[in-house]
Amino acid sequence: MKANTKYIIGAVVVLIGIAVILTSSLQNNLVFFITPSEFARDQEKLGNRTIRLGGVVEPGSVKFNRDTIEVSFKISDGTTVLPISHKGTPPDLFREGMGVTVQGRLENGVFKGEELLVRHSEEYKAPKPGEKLDYRRIVAAIKDSQ
């Protein structure tokens, strides 16, 4: 065997090793963006995989416990409503009726948010009492921003 061939084989082995690590960790760490309805539909399949949920903060559902620094609220896409619990303070711009994304996973039947993101938008207006929220438009806007 020519010396050169040996080096090429060596280099290929190194590259294959890197490629294997790369693809396996890519599979394990891809975080999908889904809506509460999709989450409810695929719950079995998702198990406790980390996902990013996008939806509207249900008006009247936000409870912030200042003593334990825990915030709980409901996230909705108009059809499915999902309770979320998040250890931490809500971000500055977190408001009811606003589109948010929550990255986290299911733990003992409760969706634990690890990361709460508010998409900063100049269009946001606080919903008036009794006003109907346009869920579909808000969810579409969050999806677009991903």
Binding site: A3, Y7, A11, I18, N28, N29, F33, R66, G88, E122
Partner: protein
């Protein structure tokens, strides 16, 4: 005002295109007068580009809202320095700055470059790239569009960009670094076009490359520091697409910087070197495209616009041209020697090329993967830090190990004897240090390995330096200190590299420890209440507020180990966004970081977040050491006496 800026950019563009054509003709005809015209054109182009910059600065300082860029991205209440840095705070201005720095590089190159067959073509390539950026400024990315009915005041700069003075420094460093890479790229192209692919183009541009690399490294480190100081999350690197866009060219440039030495010494890896610098340069364009086009989401990406497709077009044209030229000259890209043994300096550099390129490819794949997933399945997804860490940690450790062994390997073929002599003792000592680390409590395998390789590096460098000192003492009979001085004078590139490598170790330890042992805690405080947090006593005293012209500051006054600290939130009036200013107790062995999260209306109860980050400051110090070391390699070597006889001879003379 707008018309003056627009004309300046347009005239600069015209001169630039003229310069490109003239330089190209000069290369073909070898007409010295034509080349002189091209070189002078470079200066004139720079002058008009500078005029464009000056116009935008004046408009910003006078708050002239009839200029669209000022109306959209500045506000009269900003402090002076914020108005100055607002020039690159948004998309169009940042491209204006890019073009201006590039124009400066073209002019400088035209002035100082050695007159040879490569110079006219290198200038032509530089002009070509500059014409693209000026062209963007003159068309889809013009900052000088006139607003028909000027608003009374501007909308103000992005809140994140005005909260720390680093914003004045970091982008400047980044642009100088990125633009600096176009010089070796231009020479690589000139080498291909003229068929002179030998080591001349590398020697001609080594200083340019090292300088660009220093700026790029400084920019990346300072960007991390900015993120740490301003974003209030206690981290410095989020694998955000913008960060990734800056690290990809850095990996290629680092590989190039090492690999070019083989071509200088052994006339090998010609193809690798051309490929690496092309990859480094085109990845700067790719990064700009990715972060300016809205194709990937990023916390600090600029708004989407027509600029994305234009950048993509230029990227494709550049790659097609380069590949076309390289294909035509393929028969010239040949190595004079073959690798004698994998256990050699050449073998180590080759391995390094492989590792650095793989790292760059990994980051690129991770950044682009969600785009592909969406294109094929329509599903939205993201690739987070866990992926980059899973692949990056083994690759980084492999690079660290290679960095230890590399300097101990001799050129061509390292004999087993010499290897044993320089590596055995350091390896044993390094294992002992790793065991000590383990006993002291380091249980993360990545941290233990980082400690192991870091000490292996240090001991190998000490061993090699010690050997060189002994040899000199034997030959010349000098004192220990004088021998070191002479060695550094004679081999600034070697010892500069040692220092830079040492800096890499310091950074690696900082990353490993702050990554593995960072701890966070969020706690609620009532006025006067105290908590013990990770060994620190914290008392919340009161809420204090201050109103500045451009923002409202709210801070929680706390006592941290008996000393007053003020973690704050800034609310900028023109933006909806709050920006935190964390209070940090800096410490050599670890920072204690306090973030003011929120409070009730009267400030009777506040939530604070505490982050303990061991060795995080080593990243900034290590970065500084890297820069000093790399800077040392720029100093020319001094001839020193090599034997005792010569000393006597000189003395008698």
């Amino acid at each position: 005002m707008s018309w003056l800026g627009e004309s300046a950019v347009l005239i600069a563009l015209i001169f630039c295109v003229f310069g490109a054509v003239t330089a190209w003709r000069a290369g073909q005809t070898l007409d010295a007068r034509l080349e002189l015209v091209a070189r002078r054109t470079a200066g004139i182009t720079w002058l008009f580009s500078s005029l464009g910059m000056a116009v935008l600065w004046v408009a910003l300082l006078q708050n002239d809202t009839s200029v669209r860029y000022v109306a959209n991205h500045s506000v009269s209440t900003s402090p002076l320095w914020v108005k100055i840095v607002s020039l690159w705070g948004a998309l169009e201005g940042s491209i204006l700055l890019w073009a201006w720095i590039l124009a400066g590089f073209v002019a400088l190159l035209a002035w100082v470059a050695k007159p040879d067959i490569l110079r006219p073509y290198a200038l032509a390539v530089m002009f070509f790239v500059l014409a693209f950026f000026l062209g963007v400024n003159a068309s889809v990315g013009s900052p000088f569009i006139e607003v028909p009915i000027p608003p009374p005041d501007g909308r103000g700069p992005n809140a994140l960009l005005q909260n720390h003075w680093m914003m004045a420094v970091h982008p400047m460093l980044m642009y100088i670094g990125v633009v600096g890479l176009s010089v070796p790229f231009a020479y690589a192209m000139a080498a291909l076009l003229t068929g002179q692919v030998g080591e001349t183009w590398l020697q001609q541009t080594r200083r340019w490359t090292v300088t660009a690399w220093i700026f790029l490294s400084a920019a990346i480190i300072s960007g991390g520091w900015w993120s740490y100081e301003v974003l209030g999350w206690g981290g410095y690197w989020a694998w955000d697409p913008v960060e990734n866009a800056s690290i990809i060219p850095w990996f290629f440039a680092t590989a190039f910087l090492h690999s070019l030495q083989i071509q200088e010494r052994r006339r090998m890896l010609v193809g690798w070197n051309l490929g690496l610098i092309v990859a480094a340069f085109t990845s700067t364009l790719l990064g700009t495209f990715l972060t300016r086009s809205g194709i990937v989401q990023s916390v600090h990406a600029f708004a989407a616009g027509a600029i994305g497709p234009v950048f993509f077009g230029f990227l494709v044209v550049t790659i097609v041209l380069v590949l076309g030229i390289a294909y035509q000259k393929l028969h010239l890209i040949r190595d004079e020697h073959q690798l004698d043994s994998p256990a050699s300096r050449e073998g180590a550099f080759l391995m390094g090329n492989l590792l650095f390129s793989s790292f760059a490819a990994t980051v690129l794949i991770g950044t682009l993967f969600p785009v592909f997933v969406e294109a094929f399945t329509g599903a939205k997804s993201s690739v987070g830090a866990p992926f980059f860490n899973a692949v990056g940690v083994p690759l980084g450790l492999a690079i660290l190990a290679l960095q230890a062994i590399g300097p101990a390997l001799s050129w061509r073929r390292a004999t087993g004897d010499s290897l044993r002599q320089s590596l055995t003792v350091p390896a044993i000592l390094a294992v002992i240090m790793a065991v000590v680390g383990f006993v002291l409590g380091a249980r993360e395998w990545s941290v233990v390995l980082t400690v192991l390789f870091a000490f292996f590096n240090i001991f190998v460098m000490v061993r090699l330096t010690d050997k060189a000192i002994l040899a000199r003492q034997k030959a010349v009979g000098q004192s220990w200190l004088a021998a070191i001085g002479d060695l550094v004078n004679a081999f600034p590139r070697r010892y500069g590299a040692y220092i830079a490598h040492f800096g890499v170790l310091v950074v690696s330890l900082g990353i490993a420890f702050s990554g593995a042992y960072k701890s966070e805690q969020e706690l609620s405080f009532k006025i006067g209440q105290s908590h013990m947090v990770q060994g620190h006593e914290i008392t919340y005293l009161r809420l204090v507020g201050e109103e500045k012209p451009e923002r409202i500051v709210q801070a929680a006054e706390i006592l941290l180990d008996g000393e007053s600290f003020f973690p704050a939130q800034n609310q900028y009036k023109t933006q909806q966004m709050n920006v935190a200013t964390p209070a940090v107790q800096y410490n050599f062995l670890g920072d204690f970081y306090v973030i003011f999260l929120e409070s009730d209306a009267k400030g009777t109860q506040v939530s604070l977040k505490f982050i303990n980050s061991p060795l995080v400051s080593w990243i900034w110090f290590g970065g500084l050491i890297i820069i000093i070391g790399a800077g040392l390699t720029l100093i020319p070597a001094v001839q020193i006496q090599s034997s005792r006889n010569k000393t006597e001879f000189v003395a008698a003379d």
